[in-house]
């Protein structure tokens, strides 16, 4: 999971820094505002804890061992923003001091485990735990699921980063210059190990720690359970943390970010989606065969339906078939996904602004 130096091309590393920097900046601002002078010792000590927890080798059934990243418990105890920072700081110290993960790939590692891993874990925990009381067994299950899915989301993103390397970065005779395995190999290879071993280690540690905290220190679970904290049976001790909320808006952001992350997986699948044929596809024998195969051996009409043909020229997409002409195949797909998602986010922000204005309320950013 910790990507060493030399596995990712400079362009990928720079892209990871560009994507991760705003998250770090925003997280630092938010956490500083909410915790103020308390932030420094809390983040320092929790990062140190994350570091140490990554050293714990957990024996798993079957004789293997796996180590947890601690992203599940960071999300539960600190919330998404402080959790993201704590994991990133632990990763930085690991990279610089102990060579776990590279320096050029630091941002990619922080993006995978800190931003996406913690974000997914937090969203899953909040959804799965619902309004259950702080001491409910449901919260233990939710924490385990959060750790498992958070870590596997991080692993999937890592696999995609590996998998696009040979596609985009090779020399003239086809030699991959960085991670050599394409998506079709990188994704299964990473996911088998993480779905089967590392994810279970993370789930066991997250669920086990939650159960431990329920018994010994339930106040620490208050942050990620605002509804339960109000109604729960546990007396709230001296506040350890200020709350860092996760509004509905941010949940949407998370879903969109996930969609962006998952889009390059479309590169693995071949063929055209059923029903998404173009008018020229009806004249192509190979495509005709594919359409028939996908349509329970129903032969397609000899020509494109007249309506489709007449409408086909009505709108020319700026990026037909998600391919950008000057980029290698696949790059355009990812770029298109980013662009499309960006447009959706923009549209959504405009809609939120309009709704806010109609209701006469200020819009929270």
């Amino acid at each position: 999971m910790h990507i060493p130096d030399g596995y990712l091309s400079p362009a990928t590393c720079v892209a990871a820094y560009v994507v991760t920097l705003p998250f770090w900046y925003l997280a630092l601002k938010k956490v500083d505002r909410q915790l103020n002078s308390r932030m420094v010792p809390l983040l320092a000590v929790f990062s140190a804890f994350s570091f140490v927890i990554m050293m714990f080798n957990l024996p798993l059934p079957g004789g293997t061992t796996g180590h947890a990243v601690g992203l599940g418990i960071a999300a539960v105890v600190l919330g998404p923003w402080a959790g993201m920072l704590a994991i990133s700081i632990a990763l930085l110290i690991q990279a610089v001091f102990f060579g776990d993960g590279g320096i050029s790939t630091l941002a990619a590692n922080c993006l995978n485990m800190g931003v996406v891993g913690v974000g997914v874990a937090y969203a899953v925990y909040r959804l799965a735990a619902g309004r259950a009381p702080l001491d409910a067994p449901r919260r233990v299950f939710a924490a385990g699921l959060a750790g498992y899915l958070g870590l596997n989301a991080a692993a999937l993103l890592t696999a995609v980063e590996f998998g696009v390397q040979p596609l985009w970065f090779h020399d003239a005779d086809g030699t991959p210059l960085y991670a050599p395995y394409p998506l079709a190999i990188a994704v299964p290879a990473m996911m088998i190990g993480h779905l089967g071993i590392a994810g279970i280690a993370e789930a066991v540690v997250s669920a086990g720690l939650l159960s431990y905290l329920q018994r010994s220190d339930p106040g620490l679970l208050r942050l990620s359970a605002p509804a339960a904290a109000a109604a729960g049976p546990v007396a709230v001790p001296e506040p350890v943390l200020a709350a860092t909320g996760w509004s509905g808006a941010r949940r949407l952001w998370a879903i969109l970010a996930l969609l962006m992350v998952f889009t390059p997986l479309g590169l693995v699948a071949t063929g055209v989606a059923w029903g998404e044929w173009g008018s020229e596809d009806f004249g192509d024998p190979a495509m005709r065969q594919e359409i028939a195969l996908a349509s329970a051996d129903q032969a397609p009409p000899a020509e494109a339906p007249r309506g489709l043909a007449s409408l086909a020229t009505l709108w020319r997409s700026p990026i037909p078939d998600y391919e950008v002409p000057f980029l290698p195949s696949g790059a355009g797909y990812v770029l298109s996904a980013m662009l499309g998602t960006g447009l959706v986010i923009l549209l959504w922000l405009v809609a939120a602004w309009l709704v806010g204005r109609a209701r006469g309320q200020p819009v929270r950013s």
Partner: protein, 282 residues
């Protein structure tokens, strides 16, 4: 799941608790060795920490950017040479870093010999799998880059005490609050490592016979839980201690660095090396 790391996992044959305690100690030992080496009067140690940081980052950048195997392996040789000139035993580099890289990246790169499509240069006797020229080159790139970059990263920390490195990071534009957090994190990493080590050593001293898998898991998780509780309360106590000493969120740093002529010369040489590697790559 082993990962590429400067800190080797030892005591493979030992019992579970002994291994845990041993691994935690290995991290502490690595840090102590690094601090000792950083005080030696070597070539790298002589330069200003900011120059050292920039130089090493430039060399790692060059390693990652280079598109020629000769440049990548040339940089690996340069790393060994720099270690020698900085009184950092090359044997330490070989045992601590190269072995770990070969065991992780080397094994990971092996299937590439057969899986990367291209021109077949040899066949595996018995199985008849074709080894491709492209596969060989891509494996050589991956291993060479990982070896050279990990060596440079190790040189940085073996030649620079952590507080100096943090000050150097400040000049890269990192916010001062982050530098303070990084400094404190490093301090508490050792406190918590010691705490965890004591926890497992204490349990080991009371343990006769082997633990079952489920018991081992319970032990690791409750150990982590105890550590988490302690950490959070420690954070509270540290905060109160800082407040009582007048901490209001401002950060000041001690000891200013000054660049000498030798620093500027080293800076120019490293910038030249980076430019040359980039020119060779594109």
């Amino acid at each position: 799941m082993p990962e590429q790391s400067f800190v080797g996992h030892r005591h493979r044959r030992a019992g579970f608790l002994e291994r845990m305690a041993g691994d935690l100690l290995a991290v502490l030992e690595h840090a102590l060795v690094a601090e000792g080496l950083a005080r030696r009067p070597g070539l790298l140690q002589r330069f200003d920490p900011r120059v050292r940081l920039f130089a090493i980052l430039a060399l790692i950048g060059a390693t990652v950017a280079a598109h020629s195997l000769a440049v990548v392996y040339g940089l690996l040789l340069l790393a060994a040479l720099l270690a020698r000139l900085s009184h950092i035993p090359v044997g330490l580099l070989a045992r601590g870093i190269w072995l770990s890289v070969l065991l992780f990246t080397g094994i990971l790169a092996l299937p590439a010999l057969f899986l990367v499509p291209g021109e077949a240069v040899a066949r595996l006797p018995g199985l008849g799998w074709a080894i491709t020229a492209q596969g060989l080159a891509s494996a050589a790139f991956l291993v060479g880059r990982a070896l050279a970059a990990a060596s440079f990263a190790a040189l940085l920390i073996l030649a620079t005490p952590w507080p100096h490195l943090l000050k150097a990071l400040r000049t890269l534009g990192l916010p001062s609050v982050l530098i303070v957090i990084l400094g404190m994190t490093y301090r508490y990493v050792f406190l918590l490592l010691l705490n965890a080590h004591e926890l497992f050593a204490a349990r080991q001293s009371r343990q006769v016979g082997d633990l079952s898998g489920a018991e081992q898991r319970r032990l690791v998780v409750s150990g982590a839980g105890a550590l988490l509780s302690r950490s959070m309360h420690l954070a509270d106590e540290v905060f109160l201690a800082m407040r009582s000493r007048g901490y209001r969120g401002e950060h000041a740093s001690l000891a200013e660095f000054e660049l000498t002529a030798a620093d500027w010369a080293a800076l120019a040489i490293m910038a030249g090396a980076l430019a040359a590697a980039l020119a060779a790559a594109y």
